[in-house]
């Protein structure tokens, strides 16, 4: 399935786009979206386990299932420094 993903923060710089289409051929979860994104853009690898992923404007766990029409966003992990 082809998923449209909106990007935030430095992911826009890494990809040069604010929205991309990902071909999620294996699986139907947000984890598959993250895996596919990281594979295509290895510069995001260090964020892989902590990436913030939302589905239809709600942050969701990696195990959440998706369908083609879902609105998916990826943003860098919440930052902790003060």
């Amino acid at each position: 399935m082809k998923i449209t993903v909106r990007l935030f923060g430095r992911y826009k710089d890494i990809t040069g786009k604010d929205q991309i289409k990902l071909d999620i051929s294996a699986g139907n979860t947000l984890r598959d979206v993250v895996d596919t994104f990281v594979k295509q853009y290895p510069a995001t690898e260090k964020d892989k386990s902590r990436m913030m992923v939302s589905k239809n404007k709600m942050y969701a766990s990696f195990d959440t299932t998706i369908i083609e029409s879902d609105e998916i966003t990826l943003s860098p992990p919440v930052v902790s420094g003060g």
């Binding site: 935030f8 923060g9 430095r10 826009k12 710089d13 386990s49 902590r50 990436m51 913030m52 992923v53 939302s54 239809n56 404007k57 709600m58 942050y59 969701a60 766990s61 990696f62 966003t73 943003s75 860098p76 992990p77 919440v78 930052v79 902790s80 420094g81 003060g82």
Partner: protein
């Protein structure tokens, strides 16, 4: 209230004289007096908050100076909370400023925040942020999360049971990693400025912006409109 002091601010239509008068009646607590907390406290005092507590049990060291504005080399080794109290009182004598040299814990947080209209996050600990989040929801006290890392900062105002809480957005966030957190010196002042503005909007009952992400190196600013997680274990109405 000295009218001249805020004249340039009260003519801002979004804020106005009414906003100034409301602000003068509000109390905030800033938890953490480092890069974010000191800069946010500085702005809130200059803008005319009624009263402010700054809680931090750390002393100032040389690694704090690159990202803070009020501290000087002469302050090294002194309590951050007390130095801020002393300096902020000289900036605006109309504001009641209190520095509290204390570690914030799950045990004492309720007594510290109970009179606050808003809690301002200046900590560098994710575990403490989750404690703030929990007490905020429990006592219906809004708070403003802010964090910085390398060149990226994030801010989110949280209005309990109305907007997403930290837990709503944090399902994949691990505890803070140990070791020094890298932060570009120019970042905290900007993020604190955004945090201060969201704090004032909360105090004046204005709508919040959502989750704000700013990358100071790439000059890239994003606002994410997000929804509450109705199954959130802290603020959800359909808790799992």
């Amino acid at each position: 209230m000295t009218e001249d002091r805020y004249r340039r601010q009260t003519i801002v239509k979004e804020f106005g004289q009414k906003g100034q008068e409301m602000l003068a009646k509000k109390h905030v607590i800033v938890i953490g007096g480092g890069g974010l907390g000191s800069n946010s406290a500085n702005l809130l005092v200059r803008m005319g908050i009624g009263s402010i507590d700054i809680v931090d049990n750390d002393t100032l060291d040389i690694t704090n100076l690159h990202r803070t504005s009020l501290f000087t080399q002469e302050d090294l080794g002194k309590s951050k909370a007390f130095v801020l109290q002393e300096k902020l009182r000289t900036i605006n004598t109309e504001v009641r400023v209190r520095g509290i040299n204390q570690k914030v814990t799950k045990e004492n947080i309720e007594s510290l925040v109970k009179n606050a209209d808003v809690i301002v996050d200046g900590t560098d600990s994710m575990s403490l942020r989750f404690i703030i989040n929990e007490v905020s929801i429990k006592y219906n006290i809004p708070w403003v999360y802010a964090g910085v890392y390398e060149t990226v900062g994030m801010v989110m105002g949280i209005l309990p049971k109305k907007t997403p809480c930290l837990q709503c957005i944090s399902q994949n966030i691990p505890e803070s990693t140990s070791g020094e957190i890298p932060v570009l010196g120019s970042l905290p002042a900007i993020i604190a400025s955004i945090q201060c503005t969201e704090t004032i909007k909360l105090l004046l009952g204005k709508p919040l912006a959502g989750l704000l992400i700013y990358d100071v190196w790439n000059q890239c600013f994003d606002t994410m409109g997000i929804k509450r997680n109705l199954h959130c274990t802290i603020c959800g109405i359909k808790k799992l």
